[in-house]
Symmetry: C2
Subunit: 233 residues, 2 copies
């Protein structure tokens, strides 16, 4: 199993104050006073592609806020089947269940190079008591996760295989800033959509033939959003 690339541990929250992407992560709205209340180490961790951040069933002393990269959350069934139930990207939180003392609901596996801040739940608990701003940030994240979960069901688990693949590509494209986006392996696409690897492959191959999808590199692609939307939405 691949593992952690770099771990920069540091005491206190001084670097949080000056974090270049603070506006995107959990602590966006905290003020200097708030940071002074943080007395536990917040680690800044980088993972290489394919790393496990945590496993389903693990005890969860941490919440992870994603600075960059893409993470899949995998859930296993008793019979061995597994589904990818969510993708997390910059600004999202992983391991929310830790805030209620639950064990991990999923495997969290990196698709990309991923950089996260690992925040002890005690920090969240403490700040939560006194800083309404963090509350709001948490509530927003939670709400976003929930409505994302709903879309996952209606858009990605409904309709035939081609529709599902098309909707997945549109979602991935939408989430991207530039005009290219992350193209998952066909196996992962299948696990997201509840279809086989082959079905995911057949759909993507067909889209390529129609010139609705162009592979730009190993795992980056471009799509004709208008056409895919017209055909499948």
């Amino acid at each position: 199993m691949k593992n952690i690339l770099i771990e920069k541990a540091w005491r206190g929250a001084d670097r949080c104050k000056n974090c270049a992407i603070r506006h995107l992560v959990l602590f966006s709205d905290l003020d200097h006073q708030d940071f002074d209340r943080i007395h536990h180490p917040i680690d800044d961790i980088d993972y290489e592609p394919g790393s496990w951040i945590y496993h389903q069933g693990d005890e969860m002393p941490f919440v992870y806020t994603i600075r960059s990269g893409l993470i899949k959350l995998i859930q296993h069934l008793p019979n061995g089947d597994r589904r990818i139930v969510r993708l997390l990207r910059q600004g999202d939180l992983a391991g929310l269940e830790s805030l209620n003392g639950q064990n991990a609901d999923h495997d969290a596996v990196t698709l990309d190079h991923v950089s996260v801040c690992r925040i002890p739940r005690s920090v969240i608990k403490t700040l939560q008591r006194d800083t309404p701003n963090l509350h709001d940030a948490l509530i927003k994240r939670w709400q976003k996760a929930l409505s994302g979960a709903d879309s996952w069901i209606t858009k990605l688990s409904t309709g035939n295989a081609k529709q599902r693949v098309a909707r997945l590509l549109l979602l991935l494209d939408q989430a991207s800033t530039d005009d290219s986006f992350f193209l998952p392996t066909r196996e992962d696409m299948g696990a997201m959509l509840g279809v086989t690897t082959e079905s995911a492959s057949k759909a993507t191959a067909e889209f390529k033939r129609q010139n609705w999808l162009k592979a730009l590199s190993h795992n980056r692609a471009w799509i004709d959003t208008d056409e895919l939307q017209r055909q499948f939405d």
Copy 2:
């Protein structure tokens, strides 16, 4: 369209203090002081089966905490397809998205006789500021909704039709207090599982033939949990 049965509006929060099921609903952990901070009317509303509580896209000035009964949340796709993405029961919250000022993500439709407390979001917002207990209650509800959404994907949208129906019955049974549980229409089962009405019907009919499922009345049933689990989990 069927509609509201009874609406008992009242000022203040006096009745909340004495609510018989307060330990199950959102305000379980509030104290007397907290209730005195409530200055907007909380309505106590009953709906008959098949009523719309709100529609996807509606503006949402309220959150609903469910006192009794069962509610389905329906989400529509542009092409007209629709999925039931969640079921809500006693203690759950409907319309959480209102807390972020968003419009309704779903149609909320009653399956049962349903009784709810309709709480203006301003009440939540105000209390949230000062009462950590309400925070915790909200976070717990949110977390529950989210992990429920994940199960919905892995258990109810994965595997063949019979497996899905079996897992749905197991979930419904699990949520019930006595040994009978609410048996949805085949159409609703289909909308929850992403299969056709006929497929849902064929699976349930088969389970009846095997004596793994017995209909007790119109929409109540019993299952042999051990056997369904052994066969399909």
